[in-house]
């Protein structure tokens, strides 16, 4: 116990040296924790962006829908989606993990206007929710976003092909869930230009209610998309959702299984992990460096201590304690600093710029670093352990030294 007292005294005795040590550890840990947050946020943003158009983090559909996915069937729907969403939100385990849920219908249609007709893809969703998913409200170039029933927003090129402008009333025909056809007249509220060719040339968005009325789904939807606060919980949440649903006809797929981008994102994740790994190594090396030097430069001191009769074990204890204390302070400070900076950057985000415009899906340009408690704890533990362990090695060497040789050694 008195190791600690001695260690502290030693530390404060040579403030400059100790400060240097703590600072070095702090810097290393700060960089590591910021890196952690940055990569986490990066991956999270990538995943969210990749999944929010198609599948969400978890996609709930009927099994039949998945089987016939190629044909985009409108007759294999979830019959009571509102109840499903309620059940999920009220569940004590899954509920808190949910960021948002979205009900969707996606189907092939025929658009008719003044004798001109064109096939197009219709997406029916709740307009407010879709602001966070399809984000077409940000791409409106003429008119405005959907503000009520019977309104649609349509891609620029598609509008041009049909010769329509804002305010035009389109007739939309589609096959229904009952195996017949139906038509609905909807007004063009706005025209969008997303920069993504597949959207601008072939897609329009309508309200969920209009889609359900057109397709005569009787309140059913093809899929419920669930976006989580932490994308990493997708697989577990999918399993949990299946249990909550308890319905053999329904299936919940995590994006890792349903989304095409999964492979790409895993690869990105693997890359990020290796980068993080390297940085962690670098950080440890710095700590090793510092601790080694702290001990090594006091060889003389150690020699004198030994000459005075301090035992090997005691010397070891003192130096290890010093190392640990410095390590703890430095790591704490470093992690806090990292946390602070990450939090600040998290509100403004890092703008990756216009370069993402050409991508195949609508994506935010800004990456928000995410703070993860586990991650920070990891970093902190690495810092402390490294400092402590690293102090042991040279301390052991010092402890074993011949007193006279130690005193004589000019570092």
């Amino acid at each position: 116990m008195y190791f600690i007292k001695l260690a502290l005294r030693n530390i404060f005795r040579n403030r400059r040296r100790s400060l240097l040590a703590v600072l070095s550890v702090l810097l290393a840990l700060f960089l590591m924790s910021f890196m952690e947050g940055f990569l986490n946020g990066m991956l999270g943003s990538f995943t969210t962006n990749a999944t929010k158009t198609d599948s969400g983090h978890v996609q709930i559909t009927t099994k039949e829908f998945q089987d016939r996915l190629r044909f985009m069937p409108v007759d294999a729907n979830i019959t009571d989606p509102v109840a499903v969403v309620e059940a999920l939100k009220n569940d004590p385990v899954v509920g808190p993990r949910i960021d948002l849920t979205a009900m969707r219908l996606k189907f092939g249609t025929l658009l008719e206007y003044n004798g001109r007709n064109k096939t197009a893809l219709g997406i029916g969703g709740e307009p407010e929710t879709e602001k966070k998913l399809l984000m077409l409200d940000r791409a409106i170039i003429r008119g405005k976003y959907i503000s009520g029933a019977r309104e649609i927003v349509i891609g620029e090129n598609l509008a041009e092909d049909l010769g329509i402008e804002v305010g035009a009333v389109l007739k939309i025909v589609s096959a229904t869930a009952e195996g017949s056809t139906n038509m609905r007249k909807l007004t063009v509220a706005g025209i969008f230009r997303s920069g993504i060719d597949s959207l601008d040339s072939g897609v329009f968005q309508m309200t969920l209610e209009d889609a359900q009325a057109l397709l005569k789904t009787g309140g059913g939807v093809q899929q419920i998309m669930v976006m989580l606060k932490d994308y990493k919980q997708s697989e577990q949440t999918a399993l949990d959702i299946l249990k909550i649903l308890g319905n053999p006809d329904l299936t919940a797929l995590p994006w890792t299984e349903s989304n095409e981008m999964f492979g790409f994102l895993s690869m990105a994740e693997a890359m990020f992990i290796s980068i993080y790994f390297f940085i962690a190594i670098l950080g440890t090396v710095i700590i090793v460096n510092i601790m080694m030097m702290v001990v090594l430069e006091r060889r003389r001191e150690i020699g004198i201590m030994k000459a005075l009769g301090v035992s090997r074990r005691e010397i070891l204890g003192i130096f290890t304690a010093e190392g640990l204390i410095l390590g703890i302070f430095g790591s704490l400070a470093g992690v806090f600093l990292g946390l602070a900076v990450t939090a600040v950057v998290a509100t403004t985000g890092i703008d990756l710029g216009e370069s993402l415009k050409g991508m195949n899906f609508p994506m935010t340009n800004v990456i928000y670093p995410a703070v993860s408690a586990m991650g920070l704890v990891k970093v902190f533990v690495i810092g402390v352990l490294t400092a402590g362990i690293i102090s042991i090695l040279p301390a052991r060497r010092a402890a074993r030294m011949n007193a006279v040789a130690a005193i004589k050694s000019a570092l």
Partner: protein
């Protein structure tokens, strides 16, 4: 199924009129015999259409009224399609949707779409009106038969490249002039569609094909069966019903 509505039933049925010296019949004459249009000026009937796509079979029921000069109106009565109407005036076609009280014209590429999700296209239906115009007609010298009944094998070859089928073969009963079977071929010679008459009824002076099956030869588990009933010849029909305005009523 538009085709059956007016045309298939009409084309494949035949009036039983004065028998003519068989050997001297040309293709045109045979077709003319088949043309049941001569038997009525107006017609009304109810019909049932079964559309099979693999394991899924859907049934549609409808009431139809038509004239021999190319006008027709069909109203669907099955629950899923209730109130939907087709209006045909010569070569123009519209679908009326009751919920929106408005119509969609079927034109351009849409004509090639299958009606009501079947493999029978609007084009198939409309084309029947003018087979003689679009095709050259020959009678095969060979003896042909359908299920034991001796038939003429009438071969139609498209005059223009834009005709939906390059070749059509029709097995016409030598006695009743019912067109039992028809085969539609693509330019490559590949069989695309086939239609077979399953039931014939005598109504008035003519034999009508009241049950017909049309099959997609490329995916044989896709077929459509059309069945007519309650056929009334020459009912009193108000000519104004064949108009877009009337659809709303």
């Amino acid at each position: 199924m538009k085709r059956c509505l007016i045309l298939l039933a009409i084309v494949l049925a035949a009036p039983c009129i004065v028998p003519a010296p068989l050997s001297a019949l040309t293709g045109e004459e045979i077709l003319a015999r088949m043309d049941v249009n001569k038997v009525f000026t107006t017609i009304s009937y109810t019909a049932k259409m079964q559309i099979a796509q693999g394991s899924v079979v859907r049934t549609k029921t409808m009431k139809a009224k038509a004239t021999s000069d190319g006008k027709a109106i069909v109203e669907f009565t099955n629950p899923e399609d209730k109130g939907i109407k087709y209006l045909k005036i010569d070569k123009n076609l519209w679908i009326y949707y009751p919920e929106e009280d408005d119509t969609i014209p079927i034109s351009g590429h849409l004509l090639k779409e299958g009606m009501m999700g079947s493999d029978v296209s609007y084009e198939d239906a409309l084309e029947e009106d003018a087979l003689a115009e679009a095709y050259t007609i020959q009678v095969s010298p060979e003896d042909a038969s359908f299920e034991g009944k001796p038939c003429y094998l009438v071969i139609l070859n498209a005059k223009k490249d834009t005709a939906p089928y390059q070749t059509r073969k029709i097995w016409v009963d030598k006695v009743s002039f019912v067109g039992w079977k028809a085969e539609m071929y693509a330019k490559s010679g590949k069989l695309l569609k086939e239609s077979v008459v399953l039931e014939v009824k005598r109504i008035g002076n003519a034999d009508f094909a009241t049950k017909v099956r049309m099959t997609n030869a490329l995916v044989p588990n896709r077929y459509t069966v059309f069945e007519m009933s309650e056929v009334v010849l020459n009912p009193k029909l108000d000519p104004s019903i064949f108009s877009k305005r009337f659809l709303s009523r």
